[in-house]
């Protein structure tokens, strides 16, 4: 059986992140610590970020879920590390637009994240890809409030 259309979803860079996730674990001296799950499917992410002077110094994730959710979490931590918080939130917006098939700012260098574009063709899997980003956004907003 040929699965050409599946190859758009399971790109090799995604499977690489799934198999050998970057930034897996938890940060001890975290400033943002957030847990989020996808209640419809049971995916779960625990995200810790260390933010100093508005810069994301470190980011780690832990959790369980499908290849798409875990690969996306790995890519997200990689992407936001070293960036200032506003840039991280901007990336999240760009990513969300990409997932929803909206026009997105293609001047932003998305790096590995670009590989997730195929997910937008699989509506049932979009939530898998956005879970880690939603967690990051929520964590940042909660910290801003306190």
């Amino acid at each position: 059986m040929s699965f050409n259309n599946l190859d758009q979803l399971y790109r090799s860079v995604i499977m690489d992140h799934y198999k050998t996730p970057r930034n897996k674990g938890t940060i001890e001296n975290d400033s943002i610590n957030i847990e989020m799950n996808n209640p419809t499917c049971g995916d779960r992410i625990h995200l810790t970020l260390q933010v100093e002077d508005g810069i994301v110094k470190d980011a780690k994730f832990d959790g369980e879920g499908c290849s798409i959710s875990m690969a996306s979490a790995s890519m997200m931590t990689q992407a936001v590390k070293g960036k200032d918080v506003d840039t991280a939130l901007g990336l999240s917006k760009t990513f969300s637009d990409m997932m929803l098939g909206k026009e997105y700012d293609d001047s932003v260098d998305l790096g590995d994240i670009e590989a997730l574009q195929g997910v937008s063709q699989f509506p049932a899997r979009i939530k898998c890809a956005t879970l880690a980003w939603k967690a990051m956004e929520k964590g940042v907003h909660e910290q801003e409030k306190s």
């Binding site: 599946l6 399971y10 499908c66 699989f122 049932a124």
Partner: protein
């Protein structure tokens, strides 16, 4: 023997999904509908639609006859002693909530116990959690045996004289386990408790006899038994329903309305506030006719055969783990599994690309997932329109999924 032609009554099954003939293996989530049910709904709206129990015009009478006729069909279907014991509601969830909020609030007090099991659907957990919190009662869980069954020893150990309500699923939506609810009801009664049965996965697949089970309440949904969504049933023993207060108030359920006080209609209408789910009930009646025509005994037999065939074929796949009882005779046509390193969502997506619909996730049974020590599983569920060729397609799809993920890894 269920004829292969049964499938031809289900128009939805005759289509291609992602370039392959559809194999629908998600009937435990919701079943497909035969033309007989679709036409019953259509004809009701085309020829008979009107509000019920009011007005003198002909259509009003016709709609009332159809609605109450459906109630009679339900009564016979589960062998209740009268139609007064059949309450039409939105579904199993609403039915269990009604028991918890009406019977529960009136009878459960501080320190009393409510006993459920680890294999319940969320709809048979949360109403009791809420009731326990509100009344200061204790919610207890019956432990499962290693093979995902329930032993009467554990049941006897859990139920005490402080137990007021025992609520248990008849057929597990994850493990497929068929539970000994008749024996459990007896133990509940010996301790002065009432027995509630979540029959959502049982009513579509087994002959139900509420008098023989001697349960006090029995809840089920139309959409899982080839009927429409939005219609379900609460059966309750007349003596219990009589003493219970309604939880929804308004039109249709009243007798006399004064400025500051009102009285309720007789059973079962006092629990059916608002314009009832008339078309849904008519559709459920047609679904019952359809199932009766084939025979519930035949359907049950077919499902055991499907479960046995699926388990045999699937266990030939390296690294595939099946949860629940190993003996197909102890389970309905539900096979929940995991394919070693491939996450169930990924399995389900690959199968979908081959036209095969299965469920992936926690199946609204998070405590059970915890007990199984998994975060999610995939589930193939079979019904009267599935045959061995569907299992063969599933097995072929699972092998391709395995191959695909071995390649990309």
């Amino acid at each position: 023997m269920i004829s292969k032609e049964i499938k031809s009554y289900f128009p939805i099954l005759n289509q291609e999904i992602n370039g392959h003939p559809l194999v629908y293996l998600d009937s435990a989530a919701t079943s497909q509908k035969p033309v007989q049910v679709i036409e019953a709904l259509e004809n009701y709206y085309k020829f008979d639609n009107s509000n019920v129990h009011r007005g003198v015009h002909t259509l009003g009478n016709r709609a009332t006859e159809k609605y109450e006729g459906a109630r009679e069909k339900v009564q016979k279907f589960i062998n209740a002693s009268s139609t007064e014991e059949i309450v039409f509601l939105r579904g199993t969830t609403t039915a269990i909530n009604l028991v918890a909020q009406s019977y529960g609030r009136a009878n459960v007090n501080e320190g009393d116990e409510i006993v459920i099991t680890y294999m319940e659907h969320h709809s048979n957990i949360i109403p009791w959690q809420q009731l326990a919190k509100e009344r200061g009662a204790i919610l207890k869980y019956i432990e499962l045996e290693e093979d995902g069954t329930i032993s009467l020893e554990q049941v006897k150990a859990a139920i005490t004289e402080r137990t007021k309500i025992v609520s248990m699923v008849y057929v597990s939506n994850v493990l497929g386990t068929m539970n000994p609810v008749k024996e459990v009801a007896q133990i509940a009664h010996e301790n002065g408790a009432v027995m509630v049965v979540d029959g959502a996965q049982a009513a579509p697949h087994l002959k139900i006899d509420v008098q023989q089970l001697d349960c006090d309440f029995f809840a089920f949904s139309g959409h899982k038994m080839v009927g429409p969504t939005g219609i379900g049933v609460l059966y309750g023993k007349k003596a219990l329903l009589n003493e219970m207060e309604p939880v929804e108030f308004g039109g249709e359920m009243i007798d006399f309305v004064g400025l500051y006080d009102s009285t309720w209609k007789e059973l079962p209408w006092k629990f059916e506030g608002g314009t009832p789910i008339i078309a849904g009930a008519v559709g459920l009646g047609a679904a019952i006719d359809f199932l009766n025509e084939i025979g519930l005994d035949e359907i049950e037999k077919h499902e055991h055969e499907m479960a046995a065939y699926a388990m045999k074929k699937m266990s030939g796949i390296d690294g595939l783990e099946i949860y629940g009882p190993k003996d197909p005779a102890k389970r309905a046509g539900i096979v929940t599994f995991n394919l070693n390193d491939v996450h169930p969502h990924d399995v389900a997506t690959v199968l979908d690309m081959s036209g095969i619909a299965v469920r992936a996730g926690h199946h609204c049974a998070q405590p059970l997932m915890k007990w199984l020590e998994v975060s999610a599983t995939a589930r193939a569920s079979f019904y009267l329109y599935n045959g061995e060729s569907d299992v063969d397609r599933l097995v072929e799809g699972l092998r391709s999924a395995k191959e695909y993920f071995n390649d990309v890894f």
